[in-house]
Symmetry: C2
Subunit: 551 residues, 2 copies
């Protein structure tokens, strides 16, 4: 069946946007775009889910019910439980769904998947509530990151997948002239799906980091088992439920996608990942587990692991604007973003500005003041910081004084007027020397910023490059007014496959990667082997097989 | 510099051909297309090379000279020696060339590489002589496989590489509306080359199997060290010499490609492959070494290893035409093609034909007669069989009677009137039972055909699928006049990522894969992880990095 016009235009626009890489959003990021009544209705629904079994998935025959989510805002358990299934049940249901799904045409797959995104759109505010009260993101970030930005990222993967699947003709008559006669063959070109996909979610971005792999696997014909982090299930459960409903409405087996909830005390991730029928794995999380995933034989794996992101300060026009931008970048969701800057390389000789040279000490003091000013602001502080998702991150932040550096700004608990029990923590700023690589070569996930005093910008670049090459990096923010220095930074950082954001000030931060334009993670350094969404991200999920017949 | 019109049109036509997948050849396959005087001149040049140092590469500072090629036609050493270099010398020269090559634009890279193909074209007959007297291929196959077909495969990889490199805009202004204002960023998208490439050649197809990886790495900005098989150096040495000359003529460092000759007694393949600066490896050869290559950490590898190719005989219209086609397919270059059929699955109940059921025994006898008739023909026999490349293949063929099956047709030495010393051997045909998987699950490289008597076609398909899944397959030839059976075969074989050639008779054989249309090896089963040329084959060689700046 050819794609219906409304779906066709969504796909076509997305494919065009991917190739233009200009600004594009299928799903507007402003909450108001979704109606004035939506937030209230969503809150009602969210409250009705608390303390109950989550039954919206329609996955029958539960072998148990588990749930261990707790709100970083209220400190209370959500009390929602989800059905559990054995690995064998999950894989055998996925295999059953695979039998038909792999033969569904790209057009028909695209239609049901775009349909699911349109359905999910109606639940953005519910997903935002769920995201806020699992990840600790502030409401606006919860809404944007798990709602429109996630849907856009999903659409990006689905549209590029669709384009790659339809890149070569499905069938043709091939005629080779051979002197007076010719050889004629009927040829078919089939993009054959690899097999069962597994998507392993993380606790901080349960939707945004899961849906690209989910939709990339689905559009290419692979059924997906989605294994969320036990502490962040609800946001992605709503998404999975909607995809299952869309599949059912279109007459497909809903087990094309299944939610596989487990508990911290009995994780089933390894069992699933090692199952021989699981052929494609998408993973977001720690480097140690990611390295294990990458080393599994005979699997196609896509990983986003940890990295250490650098800031290189060389010279600026307006130091205040720069430090304002950077103080927001490190405070946003308390550094719990894979794109958050951690290591600030600042030359001992100071930073040249339009008003003259500013000494190293004055730059550092200015930055400290900007962070303290933002985070202590009664409204902007909690709204920017959100809450700390995990006990481990909170402990790490509180103990940052023991890292070995000099504490320039102590991390402190911050009050949230709306949620008195919220676990909110402002970043600590620690000064270390360029020689202290043992401290700054690790990802210190959460609200910890390191200032590294360097000899000069050349050393800053050298160290930022070394960190990216050896420990991975997803972003690098750099500031220079010198064209030659900018070129040097671009060339050195791209040689270790790290994108540079140069001279950002105002309403754009290094942490943000826009769907349809910015590749998220390049896949070229130890921070991960996958990139949202480069062509490989979809093409590795299927195999081109060409049959030939004499007719 | 924009691509000059002549190069632009070659690239554009190739890109179109890749996406059309209709018949296309930039380089005509008939020797006559290259002039009547070319063969004689090439023979003269070839003879002048014998017994001498090969100096055409222009790789200075040789640390030694080695050569151990021997003609399977004359039994004599070629006596040509090639310069040798240490791994450190090769890699450091590659690194030096990489510094500039990685920053050469796709247009400029495409121009010099197309130029090199145009130059190589002038040496097709010399390369044919070199191929015949190293691989043992008959002259016509040597000409076509190492000449026009190789150039076409190289152009295919280069054109698809060019397309992927230019798929996204190199730079743009990104503007995101934000209420009354907007955020404006200058973005650059760079396809960043991975690093030094290593291409490891094989003894039987030293050009055809090497140039796709070679050109794919070069167009994507990676310098290449080409490590040929010590017994088949000259054909690819001519190619490398021409690329080096083209690079030099365009003002580039010729070390963008280097030939790395070694000797059987002191192979440097592992040293090169394990060098940390070698990031991309293309390999053709045995499964055991291929598995080692695939397991190397932190490398992008493309392999073509061994497989067991099946023939499934179910029902036919014209049995004689089918057996004629198959007898040629198994005799062509004495089964020394990675695409040659090995395992013939024939139902015990016989094969239905237009003239009624033909018993299993009569089918087998008919096939035996067709093979013996072709190979014993004084002209067609040696012209089809070529000569046996290696001692090991010859020994394996002569000992095929000891495999454990019933010898239906004994392999025999065949005389070649033109070359009395030629090592020519006709295929043996061995009958085994479906239960004898231990015999037929191995690739028996060379002139050995196994007939496997099965219960019925369902069992034939099941076993062919099992072999492809567990041991790899590059081709599957199937014959059926029943549409449902054909669909069953397509679906089962594509589920193990094996292409099916259905009902081939006449002047087209399962062994042949056409550039710009047939994917060679799917990359989906143990026969190899690479496919000439799917998009992955080029896109995995570079990384998209996007930089952003406020301007």
């Amino acid at each position: 069946m050819p794609l219906r016009d409304e779906f066709r235009s969504i796909i076509d626009n997305a494919v065009k946007a991917i190739h233009d890489r200009l600004y594009f959003a299928q799903y507007p990021e402003h909450p108001k775009a979704y109606g004035d009544e939506a937030p209230g209705k969503a809150l009602e629904t969210f409250n009705s889910l608390l303390g109950n079994k989550y039954t919206d998935l329609g996955q029958d025959g539960a072998e148990g019910w588990v749930g261990e989510e707790r709100s970083p805002y209220t400190g209370k358990d959500l009390g929602i439980t989800y059905p559990t299934f054995s690995t064998e049940t999950l894989v055998s249901r996925a295999n059953a769904a695979f039998k038909t799904w792999k033969n569904v045409s790209p057009d028909d797959r695209a239609e049901v998947l775009v349909d699911s995104l349109e359905a999910i759109k109606e639940y953005f505010h519910l997903i935002a509530q769920a995201t806020q009260h699992t990840t600790g993101q502030a409401y606006m970030m919860s809404f944007q990151a798990s709602g429109p930005h996630s849907n856009d990222r999903a659409l990006e993967a689905l549209a590029l997948g669709y384009q790659e699947l339809t890149r070569f003709p499905a069938s043709l008559i091939w005629e080779k002239p051979m002197g007076p006669t010719s050889v004629i063959l009927h040829k078919q070109f089939k993009p054959v799906a690899k097999g069962v996909g597994l998507v392993i979610g993380c606790s901080t971005f349960p939707v945004w980091n899961s849906v690209p792999g989910l939709y990339a696997s689905l559009i290419t014909g692979n059924p997906v088992i989605l294994k969320p982090h036990p502490k962040s299930v609800l946001p992605i459960a709503v998404v999975v439920a909607e995809i299952r409903k869309a599949l059912k409405a279109h007459g497909y087996n809903p087990d094309v996608v299944q939610l596989a909830v487990d508990s911290s005390s009995k994780l089933i991730t390894k069992e699933l990942a090692e199952h021989p029928d699981v052929k494609v794995i998408d993973y977001t999380g720690s480097s140690s587990f990611g390295n294990y995933i990458e080393a599994l034989p005979n699997k196609v794996v896509f990983t986003e692991k940890a990295g250490v992101n650098s800031v290189i300060l060389d010279s600026v026009t307006d130091l205040k604007a720069v430090l304002g931008n950077l103080s927001f970048a490190v405070s946003l969701y308390s550094g719990q973003m894979c794109t958050a800057p951690q290591n600030f390389f600042i030359p001992a000789g100071g930073v040249q500005t339009a008003e003259g040279l500013v000494s190293y000490e004055d730059v550092v003091n200015g930055f400290k003041g900007a962070v303290a000013g933002l985070t202590s602001h009664p409204k902007a502080g909690p709204g920017t910081l959100g809450a700390i998702q995990s006990d481990a991150t909170y402990e790490r932040a509180k103990n940052s004084g023991k890292l070995g550096g000099k504490v320039l700004l102590e991390g402190i608990d911050i009050a949230n007027a709306e949620y008195p029990e919220a676990r909110v923590y402002a970043p600590s700023i620690i000064e270390v020397d360029a020689a202290d690589a043992a401290i700054y070569e690790k990802e210190l996930f959460g609200p910890i910023v390191l200032i590294i005093k360097t000899k000069d910008t050349n050393q800053s670049v050298e160290l930022a490059k070394k960190m990216a090459n050896e420990h991975g990096a997803i972003t690098c923010a750099a500031y220079t007014t010198d064209g030659a220095v900018a070129t040097h930074i671009f060339e050195e950082m791209e040689s270790v496959f790290t994108p540079v954001s140069l001279n950002l000030t105002g309403n754009i931060w290094v942490n943000q990667h826009a769907a349809f334009s910015d590749f998220h993670v390049t896949g070229g350094n130890p921070a991960g082997n996958a990139s949202f969404t480069n062509p490989e991200y979809v093409s590795k999920r299927f195999v081109w097989v060409g049959h030939r017949s004499v007719q």
